[in-house]
């Protein structure tokens, strides 16, 4: 049992941090990038590919690096640290994760290879206007037509849904929820993009008898979706940890330098104590996020671990995001200063894939089934 990165992991962390520090050296640089579609920097995306990060978790046979969840977590945390808007988790962890989990050898080779090279941006089109953080699909349906399939219905909001070259789509089908591949230029596909409050892009994606290819061998894929969503929740948790870390550090620096009534703000104990409480929230959330990645690595119950991480990170994100602004005062609510963007992104992460109350309700439903939690034992140790 240990929480230390090995030297390769530390090297990876430094390399990613260096790359992103150049791409997003300050908040104005990011503001410029997210102003224009697609809401991220294609050049940075290529650099992430060149560094091998876009194939990080995929098997080497599928053109990936064969790295584990801890490496993915390291990248996600560095992304959060500078609010890099590139759709790493959407493409690599979520869409890529589904393809590598259920795709045929052929699909894996083609799609994961393209993702790894940076030539294919794939996203998971799953959320529907009238469902709420479910692992199943209701409003988009799949119909067999000849040896192919067609999809009909609406997915929204789909992060980077308009920019994506390839959509992995969940759809209701006899016997449950299936997964399908839709090309960005497919017929009967209408995508309406818009900016989201955190500077990224999402889209309304409308299927109207749109031709699609079945991902994998078919059958009900709800379990695979639940697992992929859990792994994405864990990765988003690490992105949030990176964001909270920067938000706290930015706030502490501000308290040390900003003067009111002739003294710097860190002379006001009520403010420094609140900063201390932010640190407590951050470190507790960090512990659970790191643990969840280790559970995934150990082959334990990743869904249960993701719920725990989700709850802890959500509570910490609200607390730190709101306090970071409040402790800054007026400048904290301006788009010209960095900290408000961190609050905005933390709120976005919280509403992707299930918020804290959602996770708490899932944990509450099971709380009577066991006496105590042993985070190093079953069902987490695998």
């Amino acid at each position: 049992m240990n929480f230390d990165y090995d030297s390769e992991q530390n090297d990876l962390r430094e390399a990613v941090r260096g790359l992103l520090a150049r791409a997003y050296s300050d908040s104005e640089q990011r503001r410029g990038v997210v102003k224009a579609d697609p809401g991220f920097d294609e050049k940075t995306w290529s650099r992430l590919a060149e560094m091998g990060l876009l194939g990080l978790p995929f098997a080497e046979d599928d053109g990936g690096m064969g790295a584990g969840p801890v490496e993915v977590a390291i990248v996600a945390e560095e992304i959060g640290r500078v609010l890099a808007p590139e759709p790493f988790i959407e493409t690599v962890v979520l869409a890529g994760g589904l393809v590598s989990a259920v795709g045929t050898a052929e699909q894996r080779a083609e799609i994961l290879g393209g993702i790894s090279e940076g030539s294919t941006i794939a996203v998971f089109a799953h959320a529907e206007p009238r469902t709420r953080w479910a692992a199943t699909a209701r409003e988009v349906t799949a119909t067999q037509s000849g040896d192919g399939w067609t999809l009909t219905g609406v997915k929204e909001p789909v992060p980077s849904g308009a920019r994506a070259d390839l959509l992995v789509v969940s759809a209701a089908v006899d016997g449950g929820t299936g997964l399908y591949l839709v090309q960005g230029d497919a017929a009967g596909l209408t995508r309406t993009a818009y900016r989201t409050h955190d500077g990224t892009r999402a889209a309304n994606v409308r299927f109207d008898g749109t031709p699609a290819q079945q991902l994998g061998e078919g059958g009900d894929q709800t379990a695979a979706i639940e697992r992929a969503l859990a792994e994405a929740r864990i990765a988003y948790g690490h992105e949030a940890i990176g964001a909270m870390d920067t938000a706290l550090r930015t706030t502490a620096d501000y308290l040390k330098t900003r003067k009111q009534f002739g003294v710097t703000l860190n002379k006001f104990q009520a403010l420094t104590f609140r900063a201390a409480d932010m640190y407590v929230s951050l470190e507790l959330a960090r512990s659970v996020a790191l643990w969840a990645s280790m559970v995934q690595d150990a082959g334990g119950d990743v869904v249960a671990a993701a719920d725990r991480a989700r709850l802890q990170v959500s509570r910490a994100g609200r607390h730190i995001g709101e306090e970071a602004i409040q402790l800054h005062g007026g400048i904290g609510v301006t788009a010209e200063y960095s900290v408000g963007h961190y609050t905005s992104r933390l709120i976005a992460i919280d509403h992707l894939l299930g918020d804290g109350d959602w996770a708490a309700a899932r944990l509450a439903a099971k709380v009577a089934d066991y006496e105590t939690v042993d985070p190093l034992g079953a069902p987490y140790a695998g």
């Binding site: 709420r132 009520a270 976005a348």
Partner: protein, 391 residues
């Protein structure tokens, strides 16, 4: 102690409710209900509708259009206005410079400004805060130097709300840099925003909107008659102005409106085919916020019912603090009801996400300001600890 309103007040409340829900243009009230940004013209039309009925400046002296109402009547007027989603008369005009002019301006200034201020023929903005003078307002640096019949103003203001719409600005300037107490060297000047040397820079906020500005002054010449009250007494006028209508900031009516909307939207959102409103946690969260709002409203009523004598009830310092916390709780509730749909913040045509859900996150982010402006919650706690608890 008595719970019920007197028949007269019941009738008064009914009169207000009827007026606000029938005489103020529906589409403007719909904008407010949907938390959409208002156009300049929306503010003007709404205020003129109120002013035409004598309901824009009831707290002013009668001779300038005031109503001589009791604090309770003013409370009912404001609450009903908020419940009806009527945009409140521009605070800079009606709660800030107007009362200052009425109390400290000379006769000529009153005649020149008050009627146009009440009718929003003149749109006023506030020039108080500076980059290095926020909560610590008295350390402001903008200077006005006397030169013949003019004051020459140089410096910078910030957080000037809706300055982009303003015709005139009322401004705190340092006229005696040598004053032993920094509060004593400050004066209040008013001048047109299109005066030579005035430039305005809008500040984008994290919700993507533009409602505050930086205002720069470079050798702006202001005629001596635009000094309000006495030279170097500006700090007293500022305190008078900021202390004005402390009760209004609880914004109970606005929060009640938001909570009612939240209940309705929780019925529209479905979870596994059942309304989110049926989720016991959601119902409980709504019930807890609602009870806090009841407590806040009753506290506001206690304050207005007891402050007839003029001096504010001690509990009034609670109103801004808890009022802002509950406004934020209501916006956060709305955000969490929208849930995954809250991502679609700037969706336009071609989206299946309802308007209210699109507005939820920007509104939540925008409302982080309410615990900061108008005396931050930290300032409020300082007042309570100091003036009430003697700490």
């Amino acid at each position: 102690m008595r719970l019920q309103l007197s028949p007269e007040l019941e009738a008064f409340r009914e009169e207000m409710r009827t007026f606000f829900t029938t005489q103020v243009p529906q589409e403007i009230r719909d904008h407010v209900a949907a938390h959409r940004e208002l156009e300049k013209d929306d503010y003007i039309r709404a205020q003129r509708a109120l002013n035409a009925a004598g309901l824009a400046v009831p707290h002013w002296p009668v001779e300038w259009g005031g109503k001589d109402w009791t604090p309770l009547q003013r409370h009912i007027w404001r609450e009903e206005m908020q419940l009806a989603c009527v945009p409140e008369p521009l605070a800079f005009n009606t709660s800030m410079i107007g009362p200052v002019l009425a109390a400290f301006g000379n006769q000529e200034q009153k005649e020149r400004f008050l009627a146009k201020t009440a009718n929003l023929d003149i749109w006023w903005c506030q020039g108080f805060s500076e980059p290095d003078a926020g909560s610590d307002l008295a350390s402001l640096r903008t200077t006005a130097v006397r030169d013949g019949d003019d004051w020459v103003v140089n410096g910078q203001k910030t957080w000037t709300t809706l300055g982009q719409y303003a015709d005139w600005i009322f401004c705190l300037v340092r006229t005696d840099p040598g004053a032993e107490k920094k509060q004593r060297g400050i004066s209040m000047l008013v001048f047109p925003m299109d005066s030579p040397g005035v430039t305005l820079r809008p500040i984008e906020l994290i919700d993507g909107g533009f409602e505050v500005n930086e205002v720069f002054f470079e050798d702006v010449r202001v005629p001596a008659e635009n000094l309000i009250g006495e030279e170097n007494r500006g700090w007293d006028y500022a305190k008078f102005l900021l202390g004005n209508e402390r009760v209004g900031i609880a914004r109970v009516g606005a929060s009640k409106r938001m909570l009612a909307q939240a209940k309705q939207h929780a019925q529209e959102i479905t979870v596994d085919g059942r309304p989110l409103a049926d989720d016991p946690f959601m119902a409980r969260r709504i019930a807890e916020i609602e009870n806090e709002l009841v407590a806040l409203e009753l506290t506001a009523l206690r304050v207005v019912a007891n402050s007839a004598d003029g001096k504010p009830h001690p509990a009034s310092s609670v109103l801004k603090l808890r009022g802002s916390e509950l406004q934020q709780a209501a916006t956060e509730l709305m955000l969490d009801i929208a849930g995954p749909l809250s991502l679609a913040s700037f969706a336009d045509g071609g989206s299946d996400v309802p308007d209210w859900a699109r507005a939820a996150t920007p509104h939540y982010l925008n409302y982080r300001k309410v615990s900061i402006y108008g005396g931050s919650n930290e300032v409020q706690r300082t007042i309570i600890a100091g003036s009430i608890l003697g700490l």
